[in-house]
Symmetry: C2
């Protein structure tokens, strides 16, 4: 009996069938039930085990893809993530292992919507993405667009999909087609997987809308009815595991697609880009983000000056605050925080303030600590998400050098709402 | 005409009345209208200005507080924040300036609910709170409890109120009365201020419930009808400016109080604590939080080892991931991230993983990167908020030394839900 075997386990009370999983606890046998859940069974309570089907590593054949002249063409670029992953019975974890051809085999419905070009770029977990990967993806997108496709789907791990969406948004100016990032919160081998519906809705949206630009397509709720198209620079992963983890922040959805009826609602009117896409794919490596918190130490800011960082996002509290006030003995250290930030700014580092509240906007003219920060050169990030601000700052410095500072507060790709809602007024 | 004067401004079209505000733009005159909004008027369009009332710094007299034998007693400890702040006409910012007596003068309704002890502890913006302040507040609470009060209200700035709530929750074991933190998102001099309603609802809750423990009282929505009592370790500020900024995370509300009818709904049954409160008020100073992101550098982890940190919260992505996988050339640097974290753990630093998704729980047995992290000694933070995990870790190390490691995943004050919801299962 080896991991991955489909087995039957009999205890005095009941019977279970499932796949044998690895475990570090020798007293327990773990099996993955067919509904996707793992259960542990104490070995001393087991009466009998039977191997119903021996595990074999599946090797799929390459499928020949048929071209339909009546359908538009969509390119799917695979970067990795859960959307193309399955359980690894060796480690018990989940690994990415499907090639793009296997994707099509898994989701045959795609072939009824469009002709599919599939491009294998990488097979990464998205938490491993680095700024340089964004450039690789952007170049691959440009290559596909030049083939005249109706749109591009990027298969991506969900963990940092919103960072990538923002980065691609900045890198690809004047995009003439939709570029839709699609992830899955449950791996494709799970009955509850959202992979197929997200992919199919993204393809439907591409073929039926005149949207141009970068966006994300994921479940709207935990039900399998609607997917939503979310704005690239205004979306955040807000749940570790739910299928509707991606939510718009300080913004609304772009469209809703009903998976069953294929009906579509559009909520934003975009001006259609025409002409050629322009690629600005440089990113400055020395840009980071730091979330401040009670007891923050000046040395934590000094680190960035000593290591010659060119840009820093401070994810502050509330309206854009950091511990720099010195009202009493215990906070004497805060004058050193202010000085450390000042030294960092003076070293040429562009320092931008966002808020760990996530929703709302920073307003740095209200309280004295924030006013002090602005006076030493910290730039308010308005209502930008921290994640968007991070990639924007790296991108600005990478492509525009010293002009970057003046562009931080410019709304370039829908990342900043300049209009302040009455309720946001303080 | 000086800042703070109540003036009338006539232009060719219209007339405005309001308080003259400072501005750095000499071409514009800024006045604060009586509805709280500021408007700027171009000076070259102004026909006439009249001072209707000259600004005087208000100096309030100390009020003698009357004791009513039929009412319970509540102690209000003032630490600072917007709940006791007003506009400073000198700088145009908002400053904290009310003494506790002035608080009672502002909110006379409080005296009909309870006899009020008022304690002035500090007048800080909450972003300036350090771990040592938590000890000062906890000691002040114990002092009030020993007087036999029905409960304690802590007036607190909202920016880090959730960090303080968690810290007090850990410091004060077996609390026999409610300790309710109250903030305001709009300063008390604003017509839209939430200060009075939040304070009054907290006082009502204290006098009418048998809840014991630490909680937060804030607006439930942007309407002025209901306030909610929120769990100390499971609440987060999720909007920079809305009055309903505080939301429970992976948890529900404890109670709802209708401000107008004073009716109350209770949603959680707590076992009432009896006996004496125990104070554990030490905090380890060398504990920090770091939010990982694409392009994270090994030197950012190494910093914490070099500076001899005793505890670190890694706010990871998704289910508890960090960039430690090395699938290709570009991510070779990630093996150094893994090594840097390993060195940090081996130096004796307790490293705990939470998620920047905020909602949901980390599950570090699913993907290989997280499995690698657990194997080198990173502790999964379950469904703890990053902010709660930070103060818990500092508190654990401060009070329990080497035992701290074993207590990280123990649910001590409602900070961890051990039950995994089906929808959270992966």
């Amino acid at each position: 009996m080896k991991n991955g075997d489909f087995i039957k386990v009999k205890t005095s009370n009941t019977e279970y069938e499932g796949y044998l999983m690895p475990t570090i606890n020798n007293d327990i046998l773990v099996i993955k039930l067919e509904n996707g859940y793992n259960i542990g069974i104490e070995k001393n309570k087991i009466k009998k085990t039977t191997v119903l089907k021996s595990h074999k590593e599946s090797k799929s054949k390459k499928q020949k893809i048929k071209h339909n002249k009546n359908l538009p063409t969509i390119s799917i670029i695979h970067t990795g993530g859960t959307i193309a992953s399955e359980v690894d019975y060796r480690t018990g974890g989940v690994i990415a292992r499907f090639t793009p051809e296997e994707l099509l085999k898994m989701f045959p419905e795609l072939n009824e919507i469009a002709n599919i070009n599939s491009v294998f770029l990488s097979n990464m977990f998205s938490e491993d993405m680095r700024f340089k990967h964004y450039s690789l993806i952007a170049k691959a997108i440009v290559k596909e667009i030049k083939k005249g496709v109706k749109g591009v789907i990027i298969g991506h791990g969900t963990d940092t999909m919103h960072y990538t969406a923002a980065a691609l948004s900045f890198m690809l100016e004047n995009l003439p087609v939709p570029v839709i990032l699609v992830g899955a919160q449950r791996s494709s081998d799970r009955p509850s997987s959202d992979a197929a519906i997200n992919l199919i809705c993204a393809a439907e949206f591409i073929t039926k809308s005149d949207f141009t630009g970068v966006a994300i397509c994921m479940h709207e709720s935990i039900n399998d009815d609607n997917c939503v198209i979310l704005p690239a620079c205004k979306t955040r992963k807000l749940h570790t595991s739910r299928r509707d983890a991606f939510k718009p922040v300080n913004s609304g959805i772009i469209a809703r697609i009903n998976h069953k009826t294929k009906s579509m609602e559009f909520f934003y009117k975009y001006e259609k880009n025409k002409g050629l896409v322009k690629l600005f794919d440089k990113m400055e490596e020395k840009v980071a983000l730091v979330k401040v918190h009670p007891n923050f130490m000046p040395e934590q800011f000094e680190f960035f000056r000593k290591n010659k960082y060119k840009g820093l996002i401070i994810e502050g509290t509330g309206l854009g605050q950091a511990p720099v006030g010195t009202p009493n003995q215990l906070t004497k250290i805060h004058s050193k925080n202010l000085k450390a930030i000042k030294n960092l700014v003076n070293s040429g580092c562009i320092v931008v303030m966002t808020s760990q509240c996530i929703f709302g906007r920073v307003q740095m003219h209200v309280y004295s600590n924030a006013i002090d920060l602005v006076n030493i050169g910290v730039i308010p990030g308005d209502d930008m998400l921290s994640e968007t601000a991070l990639v924007k700052l790296s991108w600005l410095i990478g492509n525009f050098g010293k002009k970057a500072r003046d562009l931080v507060r410019e709304n370039l790709r829908g990342e900043i709402n300049k209009r302040i809602m009455p309720d946001q007024f303080l």
